[in-house]
Amino acid sequence: MMIWVRKIHKWASLLIGLQVFIWVASGLTFNVIDHDKARGNVYRQTLITKQSTIANKDLLPVEVILKSYPDTIELNQANILSQPYYLLTQQHGLYRHLPNSYHIVNAITGELTLVDEQLATAIAKASYNGPGNIKSVVLIASTISDYPKQQNPSWQINFDDDLETSVYVEQGSGRLVGHSNSDKRFADFFFMLHFMDYGTEGSFNTVQMMLFAFITLWLTFSGLIWTIHMLRKGKYRVKKL
């Protein structure tokens, strides 16, 4: 039986040995990394939302708005840059990062508002307290490498600071998705290695991961049996060191 245990251990190590090493090395990195820095929020500040001075009763009544937008699932009051708006949900995802669709309606004029480059930039600036200036603004409709889970089109506002901060603002709702910077990308790289997420889908439930995990079980259990066997045979002797 021990022949087979050794064989399994050797062949499993050949198949996945390198990844096991990557797992340990990246795992050790998570252990020593500065988690506050890795969040990418060094230059992030809370959006200052002053309650608008206009009383709720002076806003356009919600009934009127809902009559103009009949396919609404939920209406919420929202403050965008201290201006009152109604956020109408037309398609509702279980989480905000899952596909959602919205209308943003100005609560004073009733005007349909789009989060264009200008508004997105203003929201990003309001959330940013770093030294940088805006370098570029891009609308990303495909997967965002900094936020792979986000499935709704988002504006990427890039700042020219020392950390290469990027701010993401959701196009449909004006929601601040988050900040990212070189520190976060550094940590994300190790997460990518640890999760074998080489397609950067933001998931560890992938086929390659399951396959490797399965082989790892063979590696560790054969190693365990081998070690127990050596212990019983008296192969662990201190004087031999």
Binding site: S13, N31, N56, K57, L66, Q77, H92, N205, T220, G223
Partner: protein, 293 residues
């Protein structure tokens, strides 16, 4: 020079002799081999791997078992996403017969007004200071805090499974593990299923604020074991993990060295041998040419 010497030493250690190297290097190596304990990467790695794994091998077993659990169970399933329906029912504006103006008159300090559905009826949700309220948009009737019957009906409305409700309990303080305090008060509605699913329905806004089942609690345990968190910090930067992972680094590295000597190298040399025996004459002449060069 040293490199070449080391290479030969290594090949000797693994019991493989490459003829062309030996012929060149034998003379230069002899003084080295006289030394009492020459550094042999294979022997060193072998001892290191053997001894380190005696002490931390168990953690490798734990890492592989917990890691396998975490990657095999879909994380969305673990989060209980499949326990709830995301309803897409639309608001019928005709049903808003209790006007929002009346609401603001009755509750002048109401903030963050929202209009939505509570199962199938239109409701207004708002908060006064930190307290949330729901009122029926048809009649203006105050619905919060929700009764047990309403909360159970909402939970059933969200739940995707077939099993019935076992019990419902109002939690106003000390949230159970896995539920944030800010969601209180909530109705904890338990369903009949082997994974014991629970939906948490906010008593003040009627929304499903939590969904848990046994697989989530197991996942949580697996994660703690994976990051060696035996307190309750949920923090991967603990000293125990640092100590064990640092040793694991060398254990894995030495394992890689062993894999090279015990698996990869024999494969290469047996491949060469096979090639040698297959085409003996042409291969030999090629090798001798290579040697001279």
């Amino acid at each position: 020079m040293v490199c070449a010497a080391a290479l030969t030493l290594l090949t000797n250690a693994s019991g493989i002799f490459i003829v062309e190297n030996d012929t060149i290097n034998t003379k230069k190596i002899k003084p080295k081999t006289i030394r009492k304990k020459p550094f042999k990467l294979f022997n060193f790695s072998h001892k290191l791997h053997k001894w380190l794994m005696l002490f931390i091998g168990a953690q490798f077993v734990i890492w592989s078992v917990t890691g396998t659990y975490m990657v095999f169970f879909d994380i969305d399933y673990i989060h209980g996403d499949s326990l709830v329906v995301t309803h897409q029912s639309k608001i019928n504006p005709e049903n808003l017969t209790y006007p929002s103006q009346a609401l603001f008159q009755q509750y002048p300090r109401a903030k963050n007004l929202s209009v939505g559905l509570l199962i199938d009826r239109e409701v207004y949700r708002f908060n006064i200071a930190k307290q949330q309220y729901i009122i029926d948009a048809h009649s203006g009737e105050l619905l919060s805090p929700l009764t047990k019957n309403t909360a159970t009906a909402i939970a059933k409305h969200f739940y995707t499974g077939d099993g019935g409700v076992i019990n419902a309990e109002l939690i106003s303080s000390n949230p159970p593990f896995g539920l944030r305090e800010r969601h209180l008060p909530v109705w904890q509605v338990n369903f009949d299923h082997f994974s014991s699913p629970t939906l948490y329905i906010s008593a003040n806004n009627g929304k499903a604020v939590g969904k848990r089942h046994q697989f989530w609690y197991i996942f949580d345990w697996m994660f703690r074991l994976h990051i060696m968190d035996y307190g309750d910090e949920q923090d991967p930067s603990n000293w125990l993990l640092f100590f064990i992972a640092s040793l694991a680094f060398f254990a894995a590295l030495s394992g890689l060295v062993l894999t090279y000597f015990k698996v990869i190298k024999p494969m290469i040399s047996s491949g060469k041998k096979r090639a040698n025996t297959a085409k003996k004459t042409p291969q030999d002449s090629q090798l001798s040419v290579g040697d001279k060069a």
